[in-house]
Amino acid sequence: MKTTPQQHLSQEERRLVGYEAENYVDENYAGHSYAKEVMLTLLSNKGAAIGLVCILIIIAFAIFAPMTSAYTYREVHSEITNLPMRIPGIEQLNILDGTRKGVDLYESKGIKDEYHYFGTDSLGRDIWTRVWVGTRISLLIALLAVLLDVVFGVTYGMISGYFGGKVDFIMQRFVEILTSIPNLIIMMLLLLVLEPGIPTICLALSITGWVNMSRIVRAQVLKIKNEEYVLASRTLGAPALRILFKDILPNALGQIIITFMLSVPSAIFFEAFLAFIGLGVPIPMASLGTLINDGYKSALLYPSQVLLPAAVLSILMLSFNLLGDGLRDAIDPQMRTM
């Protein structure tokens, strides 16, 4: 039996000099999961990170501010209408101290120890509470509407894209007709037929909103259904439902998330738009849109009543857009435009 030189060497002797690979972890190419990769890219994008933080802050206020406030959004006080803003702490600086044109309105109404951070509206309701309750309702409506979009749009897009042929042709003509009517007109008419309320507003928003989602999903399905792994699945006898949900849907998820994120601000916007033309949630409920609509009437006398909800609305929409753009760049770098 021939002996190789190595067999004469002990374990210690066989070690390569200067070789340190065993205790070295290559950090540069460390395998992140896809989700972590996306998160890292997203957070390194300044705009998206700021957007995310703003959204979280606004959500926190929407949840906790009405709970901790001393007032409810609906109590009417006819004796303390249109009070100016008064915030403890800041009032020491002689701004936001409850005075208008040098007159301390809080003192003249005999409520020196009350603080309405954002003032009160024409019915004496606390605007601070109403703004955050309104944010809550606006967000709720937007999220529900976009969830409806996802459910309906994804189903429609998958069926249309996967089955193709006549089914696709008919379904796409329907979409074509629906998209050639301005969204706002459909929503308005629908809300005329159904009285405005939270469920009906969600419905009105998603009755036009799902189209966009379905188009994106259809395009994705058309692309993915010719991939080899789908062919493999089909050859193995997988039924259409399994292929759609196990092979195609997970691969289209990135696009669905991007569309979801970019649909939220547009839903918030349309809700506000509808409220602005008088088709908002019924009183005494408030959404950002109805608050802006109410404040608009006295915008020149008491600008803070409209500017505050408008500011929250603007920051919210801007943040969602920034986050959506960032998410798109992170999930699908090829789609980067700006």
Partner: protein, 310 residues
């Protein structure tokens, strides 16, 4: 090309008919009639319904409606001004809306192109950041926020321009509404132009043109902008639509006597006939604009004709 235009025209006509059918059916199922005064006896109500032709079967009313509409007769208003023909209501308001809308589109395009060109040629420079910030704001913020800010500061505080529409000074009164409406097209055009310029500047034919010694001016005008502008038309279509729907809010905000403001009044006063006539006009305008944009785009860019099946 003829085939493409014909096909596109046919789709538009079919869509208009479907839209009218949809609107008409919606009008059917609306709760309450405009004559829901409880003091009316059944006979009186039947008389009124006969007078307005509301007792005819659905399809016959549908065709009468379309027939009348083709003659420019949209019926009469029920609540806003009783028995006033809607065409009379429209006659004065329509030009105002169109005037402000056109002004907004021109303003938006010019400003958007300028912003986009500045940003595109200074890729990653300060001007690029500024113009990107302006366009993301313009895309994100709703029109009434701009309306509010412009009306409050320019109109009320600084008293530069009227913040409520005044029929005596149509031009000055139109500036603020048009500016508000122009924000959205400006932002989309700027965004699009910028990314398109950056894209075109990296193309080989630009390098070739530079190598040939084409002057900078000729390079920008002939080689870059020509290729960029064809694409801008695609953005203009949706922008015009935004201007159309935006006119609803802006006309309310600035008290402009246009059809958008009229539509809102009609909704609030439950004047269904006016609501539906105006909805139809909005839909028809939308369909016509999309038709023109598609045909224009097909004329300019042959690739689209191929893609859309000629």
């Amino acid at each position: 090309m003829k085939k493409y235009i014909l096909k596109r025209l046919l789709t538009a006509v079919v869509t208009i008919f479907v839209v009218v059918l949809l609107l008409f059916s919606l009008m059917e199922i609306l709760p309450g009639s405009p004559f829901n005064n409880p003091e009316l006896t059944p006979e009186q109500r039947a008389n009124i319904e006969a007078k307005y032709g509301l007792n005819q079967p659905f399809l016959s009313r549908y065709f009468t409606y379309i027939g009348n509409m083709l003659h420019g007769d949209f019926g009469v208003s029920y609540n806003i001004q009783q028995n006033l023909p809607i065409s009379n209501l429209l006659a004065k308001r329509f030009p105002v809306t169109i005037y402000i809308g056109l002004m907004a589109i021109v303003l938006g395009m010019v400003l958007g192109l300028v912003l986009g060109i500045i940003a595109g040629f200074n890729h990653n420079g300060i001007m690029d950041t500024v113009s990107s910030a302006i366009s993301i704001l313009g895309i994100s913020l709703p029109a009434f926020v701009f309306a509010l800010l412009l009306a409050y500061f320019v109109g009320f505080q600084w008293k530069l321009l009227p913040f409520l529409y005044n029929a005596k000074t149509p031009f000055a009164s139109a500036i603020l509404p048009a500016l508000t409406l122009a924000v959205s097209p400006m932002a989309s055009v700027a965004r699009y132009t910028r990314s398109e310029i950056i894209d075109v500047l990296n193309q080989n034919y630009i390098t070739l043109a530079k190598t040939k010694g084409v002057t900078k001016f000729a390079l920008v005008i002939k080689h870059v902008l020509r290729n960029v502008l064809t694409g801008v038309i695609t953005v203009i279509g949706p922008s015009i639509v935004n201007v159309l729907t935006g006119s609803l809010v802006v006309e309310k905000a600035f008290s402009v006597p246009g059809i958008g403001g009229l539509l809102i009044t009609a909704i609030q006063e439950n004047d269904y006939n006016v609501t539906f006539s105006l909805s139809f006009i909005y839909c028809a305008l939308y369909i016509i604009v999309m038709l023109i944009v598609d045909i224009l785009y097909g004329l300019i860019d042959p690739r689209i004709r191929v893609a859309k099946g000629e």
